[in-house]
């Protein structure tokens, strides 16, 4: 007969799954900061986008009247001028994302197949970090030094001021490095054993890429493509340093709306365009998140 030994332990009284609320206090400073500098400004943008300022003309001088909330302002996002900025933005972002992703993927593969501690890899990563993060205005100046119409090194190119080709080419100088940075972990994740397995089963290099490597790298590649699209969409520094005569893309127009304060007769143009950007980028980033989840399944 089995003897059951029951030990009395001086255990603390069990509070079923409940943490004392005092632990949550530790997260408050962070939450307060994020509320004040991330949530509140976003809220301000959305709120102001739907504000209409009524103007009265008193003695021939326009006077700003009361503001009121009007969802109808959203239609103005699709007027001809605004549509033009969005079309240009999407064109530039799409072009540079696609070209940058393809060229960047080739460069990434060349970097990934080298020694993990090699000098080439270090230089490629440090250089990519500089161009993708710090680059900005300095890239436009470098490109100006290369091909500007008067005393450029390589060409005295009159197409320096063409949209989207010239500015697109400059964008590639931060888009390709960005691709290297975000795609490298995925290419590094390809295991040599998978290649060996394909070889042992009689597969050729083509078979390996068609049935193993390609399908594995496709989700991270598409994810990187979306991320780069969003990046080019919100890029602002380079295009300002390149040419400030005309607004081509949405960020330029937001900036000129905001700085010139001409919103007297219209709705707040900057807020409305910003809201459009939020919607567009949120769509892109949702797609990115979905692809990222798929990639995470095998990338450890």
């Amino acid at each position: 007969m089995a003897v059951t030994v029951v030990t009395e332990t001086g255990a603390r009284p069990v509070r079923a799954g409940r943490r004392p609320p005092v632990a949550w206090v530790g997260t408050l400073p962070f939450l307060a900061y994020v509320a004040l500098f991330l949530i509140l400004p976003t809220g301000i943008v959305v709120w102001n986008a739907f504000q209409v300022t009524t103007t009265k003309v008193v003695n021939g001088i326009p006077v700003t009247g009361a503001k009121h909330f009007d969802l109808g302002t959203f239609n103005q996002l699709f007027n001809a001028a605004n549509r033009g900025y969005f079309v240009n933005s999407i064109e530039l972002a799409g072009l540079t994302a696609l070209a940058g992703a393809i060229l960047g993927a080739v460069l990434t593969y060349a970097v990934a197949t080298g020694s993990p501690n090699g000098v080439i890899r270090r230089i490629a990563l440090a250089g990519s970090g500089v161009l993708a993060q710090f680059g900005g205005v300095t890239l436009a100046f470098a490109f100006f030094a290369l091909i500007n119409p008067s005393n450029g090194l390589l060409l005295h190119a009159s197409w320096y001021y063409t949209f989207p080709w010239s500015i697109g080419l400059i964008y590639l100088y931060f888009q390709i490095p960005l691709m290297v940075l975000i795609f490298l972990p995925a290419v590094d994740g390809l295991k040599a054993q998978w290649r060996e397995a394909a070889e042992n089963l009689g597969g050729s290099t083509w078979h390996y890429w068609r049935y193993v490597g390609g399908p594995l790298l496709l989700p991270p590649f598409l994810g990187a493509l979306l991320l780069m699209f969003a990046n080019a969409l919100s890029a602002f520094a380079t295009i300002v340093a390149w040419d400030n005569q005309i607004s081509f893309v949405v960020p330029q127009q937001i900036s000129s709306d905001l700085i010139s304060e001409v919103g007297l007769f219209s709705v707040n143009g900057a807020d409305l365009l910003a809201l459009g950007m939020v919607i567009l980028v949120a769509l892109v980033m949702t797609g990115y998140a979905l692809l990222q989840r798929r990639t995470a399944r095998w990338l450890r």
Partner: protein
């Protein structure tokens, strides 16, 4: 610049990629791969090297055609307002990093130790600035800064916005660091020896993830040093804003090319040197 750069972490330098011997490839394949690699590197070197070379050449051009001089580089120190803008950018980037690490690291550690249920929310909030570009946030910051400015007009005020901008990148770096160590075991060991929660965080966990903190510093500094959008629209004269204003307002802005070249070179060397610092430390530990 570049609003979205998720994983340029120095740690990645030594991630377990392909080895030199390349198992899984036959000798002929390996030779072909090498030819492909060197072709790609040569093309990339030309593509990226040319504008950089042109930039340095332009910065060294003398006042008469065909002559070269260091005049533009000397102007970096003397051009009105330029040195001040460099100082401001350096100060902002250091203070942003300190503020960010004081705000984020304790919150991340506290979340792992005491309120794991908050983890998902924390990650979402930290990655949110990726989905809301700086050019959008600045539209909302403008009215906020109009209020702040009543009290203080210094460009240092940019730190409040920059902490938000660097949040996604530093969160990833710090999260990778926390994942690499066994937080529960370390903290239980320390707690059972009588350590307070503060001691656990400052003297047990933080020293074990200094590499991740270094990565976070690197990311946040290279981003804030080159940041343009927010500073330009809020009207603060940081390094990159000053460069653009010089290039617009001066008819012979050679100093812009010299300062751009210096900025690129400085940041490149910073990243390169720190990638070696991280590695030496790891080898010693092994």
């Amino acid at each position: 610049m570049a609003a979205i750069v998720p994983v340029p972490v120095v740690d990645d330098l030594t991630s377990p990629g392909a080895q030199q011997s390349r198992p899984g490839l036959r000798a002929s394949q390996s030779r072909r791969l090498n030819a492909f690699r060197y072709l790609v590197f040569a093309l990339a070197a030309v593509f990226f090297g040319l504008p950089m070379f042109a930039l340095f050449r332009m910065s060294l051009l003398g006042s008469r055609p065909g002559t070269y001089s260091f005049a533009a580089w000397k102007q970096i120190g003397t051009y009105p307002g330029l040195l001040g803008s460099i100082e401001l950018s350096l100060e902002i980037s250091v203070i942003t990093f300190v503020l960010m690490i004081l705000l984020l690291l304790p919150t991340m550690m506290w979340t792992r130790l005491r309120v794991p249920r908050f983890g998902r929310t924390l990650e979402f909030l930290c990655l949110l600035p990726l989905a809301i570009p700086a050019i959008v946030l600045v539209v909302g910051w403008a009215p906020e800064y109009n209020r702040i400015e009543r009290f203080n007009l210094s460009g240092i005020m940019l730190i409040w916005a920059y902490v938000i901008l660097v949040l996604p990148y530093t969160y990833r770096a710090l999260s990778a660091g926390l994942n690499a160590i066994d937080v529960p075991t370390l903290s239980e060991a320390a707690r059972s020896l009588g350590a307070s929660w503060a001691t656990v965080m400052t003297r047990i966990i933080a020293p074990n993830m200094w590499q991740a903190i270094l990565n976070a510093a690197l990311l946040s500094m290279s981003l804030t040093l080159g940041e343009f959008t927010v500073a330009y629209i809020l009207g603060y004269n940081t390094f990159s804003v000053k460069l653009v204003s010089i290039s617009r307002n001066s008819n012979n802005p050679v100093v812009v090319f010299a300062a751009s070249a210096a900025g690129l070179l400085f940041t490149f060397l910073l990243l390169l040197i720190l990638s070696y610092v991280g590695r030496r430390r790891r080898r010693r530990r092994a």
